[in-house]
Symmetry: C2
Subunit: 634 residues, 2 copies
Amino acid sequence: MLGRIVIENVRPRTLTGRHPAKATAGMPLRITADIFRDGHDHLGARVRWRRAGDKQWTDVAMTSEPNDVWAAEIVPAHVGPHQFAVEAWTDRLDTWRHDVQAKAAAGQQIELELEEGARIVDDAATRVPKNERAAAAAIATAIRNGDFHAADRFDAPPEPVDLTKTATYDLWVDRTRAQVGAWYELFPRSEGGFKGATDRLDDIVRMGFDVVYFPPIHPIGTTFRKGRNNTLGALPDDPGSPWAIGGEDGGHLDVEPTLGTIEDFDRLVRRAHELGVEVALDYALQCSPDHPWVTEHPEWFHHRPDGTIKYAENPPKKYQDIYPINFWPADDGDRQALWDACEEILRYWIGHGVKIFRVDNPHTKPFAFWEWVIDRIHADHPDVLFLAEAFTRPKVMAKLAEIGFTQSYTYFTWRTGRDELREYVEELAHGPLADYMRPNFWPNTPDILSGPLRNGPPSAFALRLVLAATLTPNYGIYSGYERGENQPASDTNEEYLFSEKYEIKHRDWDEDPGVLTPLITRVNAIRRRHRCFDELSNIRFHHTNNADLLAYSKHTPDFRDVVLTIVNLDAVYPQEDTIWVDLGALQIPWDHPFEAHDELSGVTYTWRGGDQYVRLDPAQQPAHVLHLRPLRSA
Amino acid sequence: MLGRIVIENVRPRTLTGRHPAKATAGMPLRITADIFRDGHDHLGARVRWRRAGDKQWTDVAMTSEPNDVWAAEIVPAHVGPHQFAVEAWTDRLDTWRHDVQAKAAAGQQIELELEEGARIVDDAATRVPKNERAAAAAIATAIRNGDFHAADRFDAPPEPVDLTKTATYDLWVDRTRAQVGAWYELFPRSEGGFKGATDRLDDIVRMGFDVVYFPPIHPIGTTFRKGRNNTLGALPDDPGSPWAIGGEDGGHLDVEPTLGTIEDFDRLVRRAHELGVEVALDYALQCSPDHPWVTEHPEWFHHRPDGTIKYAENPPKKYQDIYPINFWPADDGDRQALWDACEEILRYWIGHGVKIFRVDNPHTKPFAFWEWVIDRIHADHPDVLFLAEAFTRPKVMAKLAEIGFTQSYTYFTWRTGRDELREYVEELAHGPLADYMRPNFWPNTPDILSGPLRNGPPSAFALRLVLAATLTPNYGIYSGYERGENQPASDTNEEYLFSEKYEIKHRDWDEDPGVLTPLITRVNAIRRRHRCFDELSNIRFHHTNNADLLAYSKHTPDFRDVVLTIVNLDAVYPQEDTIWVDLGALQIPWDHPFEAHDELSGVTYTWRGGDQYVRLDPAQQPAHVLHLRPLRSA
């Protein structure tokens, strides 16, 4: 039977509620629930939470908001599994307080009410610590003597009347880097292997990146190796795609010899650690025909009626250089051995200091495998992060996030218009996904050169960089972005011409450090200076009449750090508008002047009111990133 | 562990999924689910459903829609509890069909593919009925011989590969009147009691109403009886509020003697039945101080420290003529006796032919009580309907609908602007509530005279009538509406001046049948003529530039009946606009002329294209109700 009080729609939670929602250590987490009962009695409510395994719960009082929503904030300190629950009860004392005040204000008799209130306090007094009982008794006496305001001095413990508890909800707490990070992707082979990549770390750190991510560093197969521009029939010096993993030099537990040795890799990781940047590796579960698993474990692959192993295809496209792995059915002994081997790969690289994995195409492997392997790794290493490279359908992406992935690539790459950007970011920031899917915005990847970047001017790269870096706390770019590399494979192909996936790029960074490097450096510095960029849910879009201008703000919970970003989405023409900033939402008085300091240009404006004229010329700057501060009154 | 295939977000369902969603016998019900798996293999899916207690399930194939949604339609024939579940599997044959066609079209070799396809058919053949096996074998042979299109002729049974089933979902199926009905509320005492009300039935039927609802017909208390205009100190001939139930002539199982006898009531119900209109009664669980329960069961009421029974109040307001009942805690013996007595009231009136109850203030009694009593009544009388009069917070209203109420009063009464009407109806028609809450729109009730009706002209009553009757399948008006009774109690009070709740109204219907009666009659006739008005989910709003015009269409699933309604929300001034009708959504060609026949005025227009000029003068007609029909090409 239903209880008297209803508690439902508890958040954060995942879509099905069968997996933990996500939080970040050291960052506030808002917990909400719909709580109500029949009638007009007042309620009390609290959140109880703890680290999994702890005996003690921490209680936080919830406060009531409009529409029967109750909320509390917790700040978990540790990474790993946590739990929380919500409790509510009928607050008789508060109900009485409200009623007696209304009656007294209307001049009605309240003798009986005083006795009723005193009895509620008498009852509550039996539940307070012994040393507080005398004080409680004194309050009951004061009420009986007519001083009903005495009840306001009584901090009543939760009442057992209709006490209702939810089930316990699981919560996974990640470290900060799960929530906030600037990523930089590079192919070590184009930098001269691990040693060259180690040298390049200084540049990357100088630009302000937090994570450097490498495509697979393992030996590359030669059978059906792809040549330049994804052609069949590689020439002898074509290096092949790093995703065609496995060759005579080994598989996923080995490094491609032309990159260096495992010791070189270890040195790179150590150096990165010294510089405060983290190395992320690619976790791509597929094999070239030359991978050791193909001969050692043919049972891990799909076989055709003629006994051959099935290569990857998307008919009529064929990917003969790659064998997909057969992960199913899970209850088959061969499969368990395979899953164990896949887990071993992660443990091996974790042993070499890697704590972040960018997972290639997770949507082509069973959800059950990811749930299993992430749970197992997290049991021993709760600080390991997994970025899902699932450029696929929305519900599949959401499911991968639900079952354990820390972050997800997104559709940002294809969202270029004002309204579609706004709608998409609103969905990510405020929809149900916000409880468990952390987006990572990439303007480009080695696979995707899209939108205004295709044959685009540096201003196009500038505006997409500002968008990615200021819309969401996690973003990344792929090497070459800083130089505005912009040649598409063809008018209909999203890949790069002379894609780095199939050849080594020789970029002399000393000679040409990249026209966008100063902007990238500046933007990353702004992200670090302003804590409001650590959150996604705090984003708020502001009105523009000009569809080529996108305006949005972020603020810290205390509104001490408020930044308004206005981006010109047109890479070619200047755009102007009188935008409307919702100052009320930013707790800035509409009738007092305030300072808008442009962190990109260094110019400071004095504004007053929400209607503000802006003009952005892409030849000069792609955006305003305005730190808003009320001016002290003169 | 997760299975390979995910089935989630199954609809219809209630918010928590712990109570049945609602359907209507004889009307199509759309069942949907999100269904997906990893990779690119094709899926098959079906709904299995049955009446609770039946052994056999009926299977309906689901078809795939965009964004991983799958859908099927069922049409339950009986009222009462039903069940359904969703199943999905990997459709190897369909996957193969897609791949082999793509390869053949690209001129690739498909020898191995043919063998793979033949093997899938061989395997499926073991699961078809014996007499179909030879045909299946022939298809496998044809495929082996190169005719891969042979697979198209094979109606493969669901494959056991990755077969996934959801839990069983409960579904409550109501009779038609739950879904569609025009209600008319009257106070029998103002018509001269049951006999006069019986005479009035002819008018009500002539106007086209389906349900006639009476406020409580029980004896009224005299202690603290309210006088005219809700005053304290009734005069001797003041009849009192019918909601102050119980007096020396009895309680909820008795009739107020001045209305007539129970035999008179029975005759009224029989006559209504003959005329095809149904009688609905008020189920108001509260007592006057003179109710027999007060002396027989003082334990069913709230007591104060001085031993007196607590009357109803909303401090500082007092309702001394009413004692609320104490329904809690439920596990107390007294309470069980009370709940049984409350159930007995329903069974008594069901015994007198009443199958519809309008439930007064259900939000002030525990949810658990409603769940219990509605379940018990429905177990024996699945055709009984309950309308929740819960003018309260949205989540409480939703919960009452979830736990069993058939219909709900709504906020329509206070939604008068174009955008707020649209937003509210969209929420009711397309939001999560649509699965289990059926709105009943009332422009007025004896408690509520609001918006443009307050001191409003007949045109205000006309426009609100058209809105209520054409926006949702269930609507109702309270007697006097047809005459445009419009005097509010005061500028700040929503009630009527000289409210019928506290006095008898003498309306001579022969002398003044009501200026709005012809319109009401016409609108109810239109509702009956056009089956598209039986649905809420088929509503679609169309663009108007003029905020005083609201335009919306309804259509049957086959688009054979399409009605476009355009209402002038301004009761005083003519409003005009070139509206934009989304013809594509109505399956009307934009480049061919079509007929727009105004069912209100009788005028027929020939339109072409979605941009159409309209002008509505409230002095002439409040709305266009346009039956749209493509013209046959000449």
